[in-house]
Symmetry: C2
Subunit: 205 residues, 2 copies
DNA sequence: CTCCTAACAGGTCGATCATCCTGTTTTGGA
DNA sequence: TCCAAAACAGGATGATCGACCTGTTAGGAG
């Protein structure tokens, strides 16, 4: 009698929806992805979708808060904490991304940038949430530079503006790489950033 | 008898459509802008729109070829040719954009990037056209660096990868500035780029 | 067991999307 | 002067969008 029994797994369904939405938003874009396609990707009914996310906007906000912020944390902030100094971390992060994209064969872009470019103009609340992620990213890198100065690894550098340059170079290189479907821009920026940082850090070689 | 006479000005109508489309695509996005809205913005009938641009895609391609490429030429390539060396030009270009955005009070982003981020994944032909604009931009800056080396203004620099860094930093800073609605990232990247280039150029101060 | 609510199912709604249609007017050669 | 083609006008089209609706079922508190 209980055949075709419904799952009734709220956390699981919610997670499936957000996962599907994150993948779709990052690879195709927020506006270009329809709720119907999302329901098919996550294999959920319209009722379940409406129950967990009454509107596409709230789903977008959840994706930013739960997945995009986490992606920035994993690819940038965590390596930053794990490495000895900022230049080492930045070179490692660029290397990881380059390897990953070379393996995959296509460039879908920086998740944070992809979302930000599309929605930040239309929705002030989404913009605020996305801004916070940018600020957290910038603060983490800026503090690392500051720590490197404090530990006498480097001198004569402005931690805040240098962090902005690194983030902008990464974001921009990802954007160009996505537009041209070529990892070249990331390779170029990796070496140029390394060279720039080398002039500010005391050589230990 | 000839009251309410139709204009019959093909070039003018086409120009009005492309102008309206460029403004809308850059400020709101390509997908977010509907053909109906564009018809209203340009004050053209459905028949006129269909006659000049049978599909939204062709209108997008025309906007990229006619307006986006021109915008890159005016804001980047022309100043590059007009200035004595690359660092002077880059500083001027960043200064111009910062002043302009400060005046306007809002950041709508880099036209090329805005278009590229949205459509390059869905349409290979658009991606190719956009890539060409990126390459033209990169080539112009790269050649300027090369010329500076040839004229003994600078040494020990890789023209191609340095050009990539400058373009990526600009694009990325614009993207962040758009997301946060703050010109700060552009100011930071301007000074950091100037400092980086100063180490490679022979001081003439 | 009762009962209330969260968790879902499945379909429907008006709005808007891009595209295309049938006419009408103007233009530019022949 | 004539006529084909270009340049419009003003809707109509089906598809798809996001939102929402009424039911049905599971889970947990009492």
């Amino acid at each position: 009698m209980t055949e075709n029994r419904r799952t009734n797994d709220p956390q699981g369904v919610r997670r499936r929806i957000i996962d599907a939405a994150y993948d779709a938003f990052v690879s195709q874009g927020y506006i270009a992805t329809g709720m119907l396609e999302l329901r098919a990707r996550a294999s959920v009914s319209g009722g379940a979708m409406a129950h967990h996310f009454p509107s596409k906007r709230e789903l977008g906000l959840a994706v930013i808060r739960d997945r995009v912020a986490e992606a920035v944390r994993q690819t940038w902030i965590n390596p930053l904490h794990a490495c000895a100094d900022a230049p080492t971390a930045i070179d490692l992060i660029f290397g990881n991304i380059i390897d990953e994209l070379t393996l995959k064969g296509s460039v879908s872009g920086c998740p944070l940038n992809n979302m930000a470019m599309e929605v930040s103009q239309h929705d002030p609340e989404m913009r605020d949430v996305l801004s916070e992620v940018f600020y957290a990213w910038h603060d983490a890198l800026s503090e690392k530079f500051q720590a490197d100065v404090a530990s006498k690894r480097a001198s004569d550098l402005n931690p805040s503006s240098l962090a902005t340059l690194a983030i902008a170079a990464y974001s921009g290189a990802m954007a160009i790489a996505k537009a041209c479907q070529d990892v070249g821009p990331l390779v170029d920026c990796r070496s140029e950033l390394a060279a720039t940082l080398a002039t500010k850090y005391h050589s230990v070689t």
